[in-house]
Amino acid sequence: MRVRYLPLLATMTVFAALFVTGGVFYKHFFTTLVLGHILADNAFIIIAAIGTTFVILSGGIDLSIGSMIGFVGVVMANLDAAGWHPLASAALMLAFGLAYGAFQGFVIDFCKVQPFIITLAGLFLLRGACFMVNIDSVPLRHPFVDAFADLYIPFPTGGFLTSSAMVMLAALAAAVVIAHFTRFGAKVYAIGGDPASAELMGVPARRTIVSVYALGGFYSALGGVIYALYTSSGYPLAGTGNELSAIAAVVLGGTLLSGGVGLVAGTLFGGMILGLISTLINFNGSLNSAWIMISGGALLFVFIVIQKLLVSSFGLGRAS
């Protein structure tokens, strides 16, 4: 067993434990139906979090995700009203996400400023743009939206894999290949581990950083597309605070916020854990929904402590 798989294992264990616990307390919890629902409900945020994983692995952060999700939805809804096919507007928004991310990455590298500040600016800019486009919720009426929602693969035991979950799994597979089996992925890990050394080793800083944020922008736009199709509407406040949930999913998934260490697959389980917690609390019915955030927060604390211990006792990060 490799040390670097330990955090992922911890995440998967927590996920399994929560799922089983739910099954013990509530009838019908430990079923593929519930699993299918969790996947469907959280697909958009997991997609965005996958992009964020790259950003965090490179040693950066992206706060513009939630606003991107909102912006994509609002624009898609308006284009829908103007008669665009949702796939066409989705393609446009994916291109926009890519370009916007690349722009953020360029500014971060060119001005050598904190990614926190630049993407915070991005957060405000895009959210503001949402309200410029429109103030109310606008529905997507194109028949494709319903067709998309009706598309699913049934599980033998009553559950189903929705189209949004399928998109998410495909996006995850692509991300795993990019992160772990391409030279670009290797460079992302290098730059996150030690930017100065990586540059001396021939990693082009500018190109890598720009690509990382472009990828992050692309994935958050994809998250936005899925959210718009899933809710069949565009709402200017959609996605508010989702950047933080995405970051939480990444950290719960075992990726170190300091960069350079982590696995993309972990993010799936991190996001699923967050989804599982809220499902559990909703199942209970008598618990205040505030507990969703409280338990999510508590879990984050625990995980960060575990990671710290792993790093110091196994030399997961730097030398002891």
Binding site: V177, F181, A186, S197, E199, M201, G202, G260, R318
Partner: protein, 500 residues
């Protein structure tokens, strides 16, 4: 001998200034295929800056570079690599969080159908390391290995099959004799195949052993270039320093002097998988050397004694009273100071200024609630800069901008500034030039004479012999012998290390 073909690399009139302070001034440098060219000079002379320009890590302000007679502009290290220039930079400039295999292959990972084959990458890394007789788990994070191993990994990375120029900036700084011999054997092979090698080192013996030609920089200027055979060592040193070096490096105390009272004593101190329990007594006014091969437990012993790492057996006593759980902060408060081996990862805060770094240990000792007055800070820092001859434009320069050897001096200065009673040094002179080396040895001996208890771990036997009153020899993470006084010679130490 190579007059019929153009030089492999030609640098003409290279100048470079940092924030207006010149580091290189119209330097010319010529490198032929099939030669090992030593680039020498004092700490801060500009050696690393020159090779950084040659390998695309820095852009020159003026001058040009020719490769095989053609003018080239090397804009980045990746471009240099593509032109066949492989480099091992000073310090280990690899990524500690990545596995050894990833570090060796980064940027040139073997691919199948466009995707990286990690199996092939691991094999490539293993094969490279094998040339250096290093068999380690290539999937472990690089940062979990000792500095010497990291240095070998950096060298392994540079041994690309398609290289035509190999640049080595102090590659042997943390290697011991055996590994250095291996490296030199490889260099000779490469040379025979027509590789052009630039070799930077402060070990003059090594320079004479391996190099064909020597160029010397002083204060950013080229002050001489000659065939190695035509440049005797005395002349070379004078050329480097701009003055003659007095011989201070002989054993200062040939006769064993009366050792003072025991200060720090380790009784059956040990830690599992780290170092076997050992006894060691440090006395006031006495210098103890720790000798042994790479991995024999030198660093481990030093860290246990300082308290950077906790022991799981035995105990430490200070002036006869047992020390509780050790921690660096407690150790500092009690007057024990430590210079770690890995200055980049453990020693310095590269973004802080020289002054702040020097005062770090002293401030810890006083406690953070009692800050030193600003004037006092400046005075102390300047005094240390003066005493150790740290070449810096001023005390407020970030340490990361100093040359490697000068960074090492700051590590020493920091330990000394805390006015310790016990000083533990791990590879204290790594990357320090001959002139400064002599001064530091003299300084340490003087402090010892004033009552300091000293422990020095070093891979350099000459250094151990020069400073120690007593030597503890380590093998396989165990202290296997102790020698004192006149018995301390290279030969007796080697014999003990070898298991005689």
């Amino acid at each position: 001998m190579t007059s019929d073909q153009p030089p492999r690399v030609e640098l003409v009139g290279i100048s470079k200034a940092f924030a207006g302070v010149p580091a290189l001034d119209r330097v010319d440098f010529t490198l032929h295929p099939g030669e090992v060219h030593a680039l020498l000079g004092e700490n801060g002379a500009g050696k690393s800056t020159l090779i950084k320009i040659m390998t695309g890590a820095l852009a020159a302000d003026a001058g040009e570079m020719r490769l095989d007679g053609r003018a080239v502009a090397v804009g980045s290290t990746a471009e240099a690599r593509a032109l066949g220039i492989s480099t091992v930079y000073q310090e280990v400039n690899l990524v500690p969080t990545l596995s050894v295999a990833r570090n060796v292959t980064l940027g040139r990972e073997p691919r199948r159908f466009g995707l990286i084959s990690w199996r092939a990458a691991r094999e490539k890394a293993r094969a490279r390391l094998k040339r250096l007789s290093l068999e380690i788990d290539v999937e472990r994070a690089l940062g979990s290995f000792p500095v010497a191993v990291q240095q070998l990994v950096a060298i392994a990375r540079a041994l690309e099959e398609d290289s035509r120029v190999l640049v080595l900036d102090e590659p042997t700084a943390s290697l011991d004799a055996q590994e250095t011999r291996l490296l030199f054997r490889i260099l000779r092979d490469l040379k025979a195949q027509g590789m052009a090698v630039v070799f930077i080192s402060h070990f003059l013996d090594q320079v004479y052993e391996i190099s064909d030609r020597i160029s010397v920089l002083r204060n950013g200027r080229l002050v001489g270039s000659a065939a190695t055979a035509a440049l005797p060592q005395r002349e070379l040193i004078t050329l480097m320093l701009g003055r003659e070096l007095e011989r201070v490096e002989q054993r200062a105390a040939a006769a064993p002097k009366a050792a003072g009272a025991p200060v720090l004593a380790a009784e059956k101190l040990g830690r599992r998988r780290w170092i076997e329990p050992f006894d060691l007594v440090l006395r006031a006014g006495e210098a103890i050397g720790l000798a042994g091969l790479l991995g024999s437990g030198r660093t481990e012993t030093a860290k246990l004694i300082f308290g950077a790492v906790r022991a799981d057996s035995g105990r430490l006593t200070l002036d006869g009273a047992p020390l509780g759980h050790a921690s660096p902060r407690r150790a500092l408060r009690r007057g024990i100071a430590f210079c770690p081996e890995d200055r980049k990862a453990e020693g310095l805060v590269l973004d802080l200024s020289v002054r702040e770094n020097i005062l770090l240990a002293l401030q810890t000792k006083r406690g953070w609630l009692r800050p030193l007055p600003r004037d006092e800070q400046r005075r102390l820092a300047e005094a240390m800069i003066e005493a150790l001859g740290i070449a810096t434009s001023d005390a407020e320069k970030p340490v990361g901008q100093l040359s490697g050897g000068n960074q090492q001096k700051v590590v020493l200065a920091r330990a000394l500034a805390s006015k310790p009673r016990v000083l533990v040094l791990d590879e204290p002179t790594r990357g320090i030039d001959v002139g400064a080396h002599a001064e530091i040895v003299a300084l340490v001996r003087r402090l010892c004479a004033e009552g300091l208890a000293l422990l020095v771990a070093s891979s350099e036997l000459d250094e151990i012999v020069a400073v120690s009153d007593r030597v503890a020899v380590l093998r396989d993470r165990r202290i296997v012998g102790e020698i004192a006084g006149a018995e301390i010679t290279r030969e007796t130490i080697i014999e003990l290390i070898a298991g005689g």
